[in-house]
């Protein structure tokens, strides 16, 4: 009966997914740049992302925040244009330039109308920003000062304080451990020479990965990609963009930070899983039941619905180049801190021990598979998938495989995968708030 239901859901989804996903193609430019394209002419617009292995994991040990500041400076003067000229030229055509950065990846994104005049103008700005950033010293001074104010603001936000403490404990000694943008004191030490050097080393043609979705042909896309990377350097011999494996935790750790807030911010976790790990689908489906599936999840049902202890409680795996974090998060009123912590720990322990029930597994699969078309129902969402597939060298049929692999996951695989990747006895626990010291 259950099998039939899954089969039926899969069948329905499958026909839809074929319609939903714009077919995509990919190729390589002579300089080594990977280009991935989803051609769709329904709207007169084009989305582009250009990604590099230039995230915060590549910060030199004595220069935390270098990757982030380098990226921030790209559009603050480039190709003979000032920051204001860049902004005005983009705005004149209604184009939007964006920057995204995590520990692995630095991406520059562009959204523009596909009318030739607007598109060409926006592409000229984007290629200048990528290949001819000015890193002007006085502009850098200003941007550092602005960044430092933003970091100081975060330093007084309990949610951010918890996130930074969590990151540094879970990844202790690893390049994933430090705050992406560095701390206030780190930023002060960065100079234009270091930024230029980082750009020269990491924003290279052969490491660039371009994704495009929208109103563009294969031929036009090829010309655009060529133009965007033509001014970029090649990777120097001997430069490695490998990231070392994340060591497992060998002992539990509690970090409690005192702050006069009404709620305690609680984060619990460990290093989780890396991109392409064969256990990923089992962990993904299992985590839906644990804390990823909103009101379907055990954490939400217990901590919020049954006990009224939190508005938001969740868990996730963030797969990265190396094992990214597994994290459980919630916030509760100060006086319930210990109660909430105990509830979450016991749910996690039970889950790793016993896994999911048959009914939970069916519900998780129905939801994930049936919801698949919603994940790719816009150009922007497709761009994110395309960029991720390309950057992490995932199989080209990743989107087709996703629902199929989810459908195949068994309760036993979930139990085994959770036991392989998580150890409830060695979790990091971070608590920020006004609660008395915990044990």
């Amino acid at each position: 009966m259950n099998m039939q239901k899954i089969g039926l859901a899969l069948g329905l989804m499958w026909s839809s997914a074929v319609f939903a996903a714009t077919p995509f193609t990919h190729w390589q430019l002579p300089g080594g740049t990977e280009v991935w394209l989803a051609e769709t002419h329904q709207l007169p617009m084009l989305d582009i992302s250009v990604s590099f292995p230039a995230g915060s994991a590549f910060d030199p040990a004595d220069k935390p925040g270098l990757a982030s500041l380098t990226q921030r400076m790209l559009d603050q003067g480039a190709g003979g244009m000032t920051d204001v000229q860049i902004a005005d030229r983009l705005a004149d055509g209604g184009a939007q330039l964006g920057m995204e950065l995590d520990a692995d990846r630095a991406s520059v994104t562009l959204r523009t109308l596909s009318r030739p005049e607007q598109e060409q103008s926006a592409l000229a700005v984007m290629s200048a920003v990528l290949a001819h950033p000015a890193f002007d010293a006085s502009v850098l001074q200003r941007e550092k000062a602005r960044l430092e104010e933003a970091l100081k603001e975060e330093d007084a936000e309990p949610q951010m304080m918890a996130a930074f403490a969590f990151q540094s404990a879970v990844f202790a000694g690893h390049p994933y451990a430090h705050r992406t943008s560095g701390d206030v004191g780190d930023v002060e030490k960065l100079d234009a020479g270091a930024l230029r050097q980082f750009w020269q080393t990491h924003y290279t043609q052969d490491h660039a990965v371009i994704a495009m979705v929208g109103d563009v042909t294969r031929e036009q896309a090829n010309a655009i990609a060529t133009r965007l990377v033509s001014g970029l350097p090649a990777t120097a011999p001997g430069v490695s963009v490998a990231i070392p494996p994340v060591p497992s935790l060998t002992a539990p750790e509690l970090r409690q930070i005192s702050f006069p807030s009404k709620q305690s911010q609680i984060l619990i976790g460990q290093p989780g899983v890396k991109r392409g790990d064969p256990d990923y689908y089992a962990l993904y489906v299992g985590n839906y039941v644990l804390g990823g599936g909103g009101f379907d999840s055990r954490l939400m049902k217990d901590v919020r619905e049954k006990q009224g202890l939190a508005y938001s409680v969740y868990s996730y795996f963030m797969p990265m180049q190396q094992a990214g974090a597994f994290q459980i998060g919630l916030q509760t009123r100060t006086q319930e801190t210990a109660t909430a912590l105990q509830a979450v720990r016991s749910i996690l322990r039970d889950f790793v021990q016993n896994g999911v029930t048959a009914a939970e597994l069916t519900q998780a699969k129905d939801s994930i598979i049936g919801g698949f078309p919603l994940r790719i129902d816009s150009n922007r969402k497709q761009l994110e998938y395309l960029s991720m597939i390309a950057y992490y060298h995932l199989p080209a049929d990743y989107l087709e495989q996703f629902p199929r692999q989810v459908a195949k996951v068994t309760a036993q695989q979930i139990r085994q995968a959770f036991r392989r990747h998580l150890d409830p006895d060695h979790m990091v626990t971070v608590v920020v708030g006004d609660a008395p010291a915990l044990k």
């Binding site: 859901a9 989804m13 319609f19 769709t40 709207l43 007169p44 617009m45 603050q76 920051d83 204001v84 000229q85 902004a87 005005d88 705005a91 004149d92 209604g94 109308l113 009318r115 607007q118 200003r142 000062a145 602005r146 104010e149 933003a150 100081k152 603001e153 007084a156 409690q256 930070i257 005192s258 807030s261 709620q263 599936g293 909103g294 009101f295 379907d296 619905e305 049954k306 508005y311 916030q331 009123r333 006086q335 801190t337 210990a338 519900q363 129905d366 939801s367 994930i368 598979i369 049936g370 698949f372 078309p373 919603l374 790719i376 129902d377 922007r380 008395p436 010291a437 915990l438 044990k439």
Partner: protein, 451 residues
């Protein structure tokens, strides 16, 4: 100017691809269908025209509390089942409450719209409100208030500003409610609120996605058509008395960086879409704040370096009295007073000398482009339609936004700056950051003492 004309024409051609269909059910429920056949998905949004603007002192936050209780079950669909059924169908659901409306939504594959309608129609009529579930959910809402407001200094500044700038209009009260009001809400009060406002003629249903208007009409009639309407209470006008002098408040909270929030009374677009003033105010907000090249970014952040961050916001639409809002963080070594002075000088400059044609053209170009970009999101398209309908504007006006903005002149932008952004209409709120002490040097406390 020729350049912009070409783009405007192109956009109109695009918008013709995706049409809007509207109709009314026998019970007065209004339905808007936006076709978008790019993906095999649909979004359904049920907009109840009730929000914090309809609330009274002592029971603030009741619209939002009811929104939470709407997921707590009916006789046919018990507690937890609503979310479980939508999730089992691969859907997503949630709800939002603000000053003007409460909206419930589902996103699904296109052939599963009937499920959303069945569940929404059921809870529109048969909500089963039980004391125990209410008490737990009440605690959840208090946690939500702590999370969103009490532990967020800038949100506290906003809440205080609203309570100061408005003296009579209900916009002065927070959507989530005052903590003590939330705590003292009773199940009976929530039940009465539900019975008073949840009637089909107080609802706009917006459906957007890969559907045909005929199918939606059939389904809407099937599920919502037979729900009886009942009379709505009279909504009395609550005109805000005119402010006659600048108001200032200070909020203290643990923080490291100060914050400045300024708000001027300025009209929203109500009912008459051809009222030029709100459109001119919208353009003004773009001239001041739309990237590094706009006035705030260029002058305040770059030339004067008095602001670390600074922005302008004008919502355009609202059932109640409008505000034109500016906020910012002073750069290191500068004070909120320095920043306020610099902001007021920029606004005075627009009022005195007006804006340049290239500034105007730049803002218009961005509005025109955004009008294309927003079509990438079916959900956002539905949100726009619902917002227009809720303030009493025809849904067809969503397609005319570009026309309205294109018609704004530089003289009109100067005129609204001169007329509305004046000191007597201004409220200034600042965050005074407070240091805090670490107290964890104290010896560890046994876990049991916490209970």
């Amino acid at each position: 100017m020729k350049k912009w004309l070409a783009v405007v024409l192109a956009c109109q051609a695009t918008s013709a691809l995706a049409g809007i269909t509207q109709f009314e059910l026998g019970n007065g429920m209004h339905v808007i269908v936006q076709e978008d056949h790019r993906s095999p998905v649909v979004v359904s949004q049920l907009w109840y025209r009730v929000g914090s603007i309809d609330e009274e002192n002592g029971t603030t936050g009741i619209s939002h509390m009811l929104e939470h209780m709407m997921f707590k079950g009916t006789k046919d669909v018990p507690d937890g089942e609503f979310s479980r059924l939508i999730a089992a169908a691969g859907g997503r659901e949630n709800a939002m409450t603000n000053q003007d409306y409460t909206v419930y939504f589902e996103q699904l594959q296109k052939d599963r719209l009937a499920l959303a309608f069945r569940l929404e129609a059921d809870r529109m009529q048969h909500l089963d409100l039980a004391e125990e579930g209410f008490r737990k959910e009440n605690q959840v809402v208090m946690e939500e208030r702590r999370m969103r407001t009490e532990d967020q200094p800038q949100a506290l500044v906003y809440e205080n500003l609203m309570a100061t700038t408005f003296e009579a209009n209900p916009y002065r009260r927070p959507v989530i409610g005052w903590m003590d009001d939330i705590r003292h809400l009773t199940l009976d009060e929530v039940r009465q609120w539900y019975q008073r406002w949840y009637t089909p003629d107080n609802v706009t249903l917006v459906v957007a996605g890969d559907v045909s208007p005929d199918d939606v009409r059939k389904l809407a009639n099937q599920y919502f058509g037979a729900i009886p309407a009942h009379p709505l209470p009279v909504r009395k006008e609550q005109t805000e008395p005119e402010q006659t002098g600048i108001k200032r408040i200070v909020v203290k909270a643990p923080a490291k960086v100060p914050y400045l929030l300024m708000a001027w009374h300025a009209p929203y677009l109500h009912q008459n879409a051809n009222d030029w003033q709100p459109w001119a105010l919208k353009v003004l907000s773009g001239v001041l704040d739309s990237g590094a090249g706009s006035r705030f970014g260029r002058v305040l952040v770059r030339e004067q370096q008095v602001a670390s961050e600074v922005g302008a916001e004008y919502d355009l639409l609202g059932r109640g009295p409008g505000l034109f809002v500016v906020d910012g963080t002073p750069s290191a070594g500068k004070t909120v007073t320095d920043l306020e002075t610099a902001i007021r000088a920029q606004i005075a400059d627009v009022a005195k000398n007006g804006i340049r044609e290239d500034e105007l053209a730049r803002v218009k170009a961005q509005v025109i482009a955004n009008n294309v970009y927003q079509r990438d999101s079916v959900f956002y398209q539905a949100m726009l339609l619902g917002q227009f309908a809720t303030v009493g504007l025809p849904a067809t006006e969503v397609d005319r936004v570009v026309d309205h903005v294109s018609a704004v002149t530089a003289a009109q932008v100067q005129e609204v700056a001169r007329r509305y952004l004046v000191d007597d209409q201004l409220t200034v709120a600042t965050l005074d950051p407070q240091p805090w002490n670490n107290h964890h040097d104290a010896p560890p406390v046994d876990m049991h003492q916490l209970r």
